[in-house]
Amino acid sequence: MTAPVAISLSVNGERVEARILPRLNLADFLREHLKLTGTHLGCEHGVCGACTVRVGGEIVRSCLMLAVQASGTAVETIEGLSDSGEIADLQAAFRDRNALQCGFCTPGMLMAAQDLLREKHMPSRDEIREHLSGNYCRCTGYQAIVDAVEMTARSRVESDA
């Protein structure tokens, strides 16, 4: 009775068709079926934020979404954002400010940070902290991450001026 289900979705702009079991979550679909391993699975119950991806332009937890629920949607992963150059400056700022050590949380952090920067051009440090509050980092103590996001916001505002 748990038959495979056909799904069709766009992942980083490419059309993907697959037959999957309903229990498969979107994170495992991306990692195991599409080999897009930039999306990380930490807690698998929505607490750590490492699996954050975009669905329909909005960030979601890919561990708390079934792959079948993503059928018909447009999914963007860290590979997509990285390859398109959309977050190249944010990635450089993370490197420059030492905003990562082990790097496990980084894809989710970048996803959440870019989501904030698309919404608000010059967020305060408190707003940055609040928007990233759903993403755990066990290495950096967060200060450097907030620095990197703040630095990116400032340089984007300056380059727009």
Binding site: E58, V60, R61, L64, L66, V68, A112, E130, H131, G134
Partner: protein, 293 residues
């Protein structure tokens, strides 16, 4: 961990969802945003045989104002509540509360109907429903019915919903000009489940309240509409009266113990929130400053 295997049905209409629930009954769980159900399934706390996915039912999504009633469809997401001008105008308490629900990525998926049906005693929206005199609109085999929020929540993760019922909307009276609200919670990290929280709605009258509804959450097995509020309505609020109400609140609550707090700590925090709430609603900082919790 991963969810155990289940069969998946995507409902094509509310009628179709009800048919599926009628067929599968207790073996099925309704999936809306999945931000409570999927963690529980991943942790194998629940293992339904069948998932009925109502996520595509556009008819259950949206916010509208009909006369003096604000109607919120069950599939309206927390992110939608946060962005809605109707919510700010007609139920500002909800707007204040939703900012405390989890994190942006979860608010983009989680729905009001899902949160209420889940009935987690530490979640914000059930307590808001009590404070706001909400009616929960439910459709089942016998047709549509409305359940007062005060009756709806019956225990931890338990409600008046039957296995064949679908929560379709909530209805709230539109807040009038004289009303005021207060929302605050204590949590280890912004967006985490509250240690204790308070969602309050009031009608002010002179230097007191004509009506005061105190919806506490994370203080027991279900949200609590504190009866102690009765001691603060229709009277002039003095520090002595407030202390009396605070003592009554302390006796009335029967908080649980968990990793986050002891019952004594929860009582203390609930009393502190009462002081802050009354001082804030009446704009009387003197009631809180130096006030004994």
């Amino acid at each position: 961990m991963k969810a155990s295997a289940f069969a998946y049905e995507r409902a094509t209409s509310v009628a179709n969802a009800l048919e599926l629930l009628a067929v599968h009954g207790e073996k099925a769980r309704v999936l809306s945003g999945g931000q409570s159900l999927l963690p529980a399934m991943n942790l194998r706390l629940v293992a339904p045989d069948v998932i009925v996915d109502i996520g595509e039912l556009a008819e259950l999504r949206g916010i509208s104002v009909k006369g003096e009633t604000l109607v919120i469809g069950a599939l309206t997401r927390h992110a939608d509540l946060l962005k809605s001008s109707d919510i700010v105008k007609c139920a500002p308490l909800l707007a204040a509360a939703v900012a405390h629900i989890a994190h942006p990525a979860i608010r983009n998926r989680g729905t009001i109907g899902g949160s209420l049906a889940q009935a987690d005693p530490a979640s914000e929206l059930p307590a808001c429903m009590l404070a706001l005199r909400a009616s929960i609109v439910v459709r089942g085999p016998g047709g549509e019915r409305r359940i007062a929020a005060e009756e709806f929540f019956t225990g931890i993760y338990e409600t008046k919903l039957e296995p064949q019922d679908l929560l379709v909307a909530v209805e709230l009276p539109v807040a009038d000009g004289g009303s005021a609200h207060f929302f605050q919670e204590f949590a280890r990290r912004h967006g985490d489940y509250a240690i204790v929280g308070l969602a309050a709605q009031a009608a002010r009258q002179g230097d007191g309240f004509a009506d005061l509804r105190l919806g506490y959450f994370a203080v027991g097995d279900r949200p609590v509409l504190a009866k102690a509020a009765g001691k603060l309505t229709g009277v002039a609020i003095t520090p002595a009266r407030l202390a009396e109400a605070s003592d009554a609140l302390s006796r009335e609550l029967d908080p649980h113990e968990d990793q986050q707090a002891t019952p004594a700590m929860r009582r203390h925090l609930a009393r502190l929130l009462l002081l802050r709430c009354v001082a804030s609603l009446l704009n009387r900082p003197d009631l809180h400053i130096g006030g004994r919790a």
